[in-house]
Amino acid sequence: MSGRFGIYGGQYIPETLMNTVIELEKAYNHFKNDPDFNAELSSLLNEYAGRPSRLYYAKRMTEALNGAKIYLKREDLNHTGAHKINNVLGQALLAKRMGKTRLIAETGAGQHGVATATAAALMGMSCVVFMGEEDMKRQALNVYRMRLLGAEVVSVSTGTGTLKDAVSKAFAEWTSRIIDTHYCLGSVMGPHPFPTIVRDFQAVISREIRAQVLEREGRLPDAVIACVGGGSNAIGSFWHFINDSCVRLIGCEAAGRGVNTFETAATISTGRVGIFHGMKSYFCQDKFGQIAPVYSISAGLDYPGIGPEHSYLHDTGRAEYVPVTDEEAVNAFEFLSRTEGIIPAIESAHAVSHAMTLAPKMTRDKIIVVTISGRGDKDCASVARYRGENIDE
């Protein structure tokens, strides 16, 4: 079946959108093999977004943990400060080739919204970003950035006022305005073909890691660690290692205040299989299938589902998914800042935290790659708040 990862994925969307996603799939299948399209995308990724991103040997972190050698994949150094730009440049270029003039997007932490607003500005397209009202409070700086870039930011107050509701609102908007509009989905989720398109555009991360680590170490890493909300930077970090069974692939979910509390967003640890937002996958839900209100300090991981390919990698055992709490993530946020002078996004800090747990249990000849999916400037105010300090942004 098309667009399936085992039993997961699919196209659970209203009939109104079916021809649109079919048209998108056709366009993608055409342009992904088009030399002009790929040349233009490569040029944008290199000249505009600053790729390839660095694979940095974190010497002081390695020494402090006294175990496996740690490399950081620096997606935080991309233009706009996160991995989101990789996917957005691809989709914006695709939308433009399809004759669309308007991009809409959902955003949680604001990084995908900023990336979409950036691509829209660059390509002369109009842009509307949907953002939960809770998230607009948590990520005020990114709201300002999006508006500065010319995007309209729409506050979503329905439901829990977070990422899930922003996704619902963006789909509803797409259902009412299709002709000139492309929904630039920010993660490896939603109906087919999005999980595949977004994965392909993010796979550049593992393509580079692989080449960089081979060049530096002459061998593959023992583990690749990335944070997972919908899971786009994780699938991008995993993709070119999936057939190398010697490389452990580890996704770090946001456990919020803990997987035994109701204030968590750890989908694999606490959810079960369901159908929502266009896909069959794991979701946090109650026994009647009502989607659970989820919580994490990280607005970007505060989502009750996970991309369908991750559900498949979990079921087959090819990737492992571990929960990381707010407290652990904040500790890692501070640790990396002090040890390496790198302030990671609070999302990425979930991955750093697990590396801090894992590295000391491994010998010094082992290699871990941690993807730093974004930079942490946007999170300083909320981490300060978490530590009981109020700072003015």
Binding site: Q11, P14, T158, A172, T175, G274, I275, F276, G289
Partner: protein
């Protein structure tokens, strides 16, 4: 002939939509009784979902209110069982894929059969995904209602050929909600349905006035009205039954 199709044989059908449990199950029961007494031909019963992505703000709010007040799928099944004592017209459930999937499709459809619920509408299950639920619907005699939309174009024929019960013709782009004007070429869509199937066509999304209903009934076999009904319930709460009854009568009269 299924009970749903038989309901269209008596003339143009009026199908009110009611979100179950808004504001509470007792009110929903009284509203349904009044709707039936005033001429509703089929009742579309919404099982609330936490994230009703195909709904506009009116039905969204009805979903939230009902869930806040503690309604569950099981309580709705119990309600329908009680209503079946003296109501015979077809009931069609409307909910989202996850509500059925999570309950267990087999268990859900078996309950539908037991309480004589005749059909189900799942707006997030298009033609390509209906295999998820269709076999189990068939084995319990529940009609899985298909939808066509203004954007369906060449898909209309394929969908119509396999449609059961009735075909839900979505009048407009976007989500549910009252609209002043409907600009889609519905006659064209229904014409291509007729070429491929004799399934009755009911138009929904955006209809609220008797004039709109009458206009739609010239080309279709029935009309579905949701947001206008739920607006009455939002306004009058537990006292809604009589007001919904009056509204149903006006709408049904417009279709006679």
């Amino acid at each position: 002939m299924s009970k749903i199709r038989a309901a269209f044989a008596k003339g143009k059908a009026f199908i009110p939509f009611i979100t179950c449990g808004d504001p509470d199950i007792d009110t929903t029961k009284r509203v349904i009784h009044e709707a039936v007494r005033n001429g509703a031909d089929i009742i579309e019963l919404g099982i609330p979902f936490s994230d009703p992505t195909a709904e506009g703000v009116v039905i969204q709010s009805a979903n939230y209110r009902a869930l806040r007040n503690g309604v569950t799928t099981d309580k709705i099944f119990d309600m329908v069982r009680e209503l079946r004592v003296d109501i015979d017209i077809p009931f069609v459930f409307m909910t989202y894929a996850n509500v059925v999937f999570s309950y267990g499709a087999e268990k859900f459809m078996s309950a539908c059969k037991e309480i004589s619920a005749d059909g189900i509408i799942l707006p997030d299950v298009p033609f390509e995904e209906k295999g998820e639920f269709l076999p189990v619907c068939k084995s319990y005699g529940v009609d899985l209602i298909s939808m066509v939309a203004p954007t369906s174009e060449e898909r209309v024929a394929m969908i119509a050929r396999e449609a059961e019960g009735f075909l839900y013709v979505v009048s407009s782009l976007g989500v549910t909600g009252v609209r002043e004007r409907i600009t889609t070429d519905l006659a064209g869509i229904i014409e291509s349905v007729r070429k491929n199937s004799d399934v009755p066509c009911a138009i929904g999304f955006g209809i609220s006035t008797p004039e709109q209903a009458r206009e739609m009934s010239r080309i279709a076999d029935g009309v579905i009205v949701g947001s206008a009904v739920m607006k009455i319930i939002a306004r009058y709460g537990t006292d809604s039954a009589g007001y919904v009854g009056e509204y149903v009568k006006t709408m049904k009269d417009a279709l006679r």
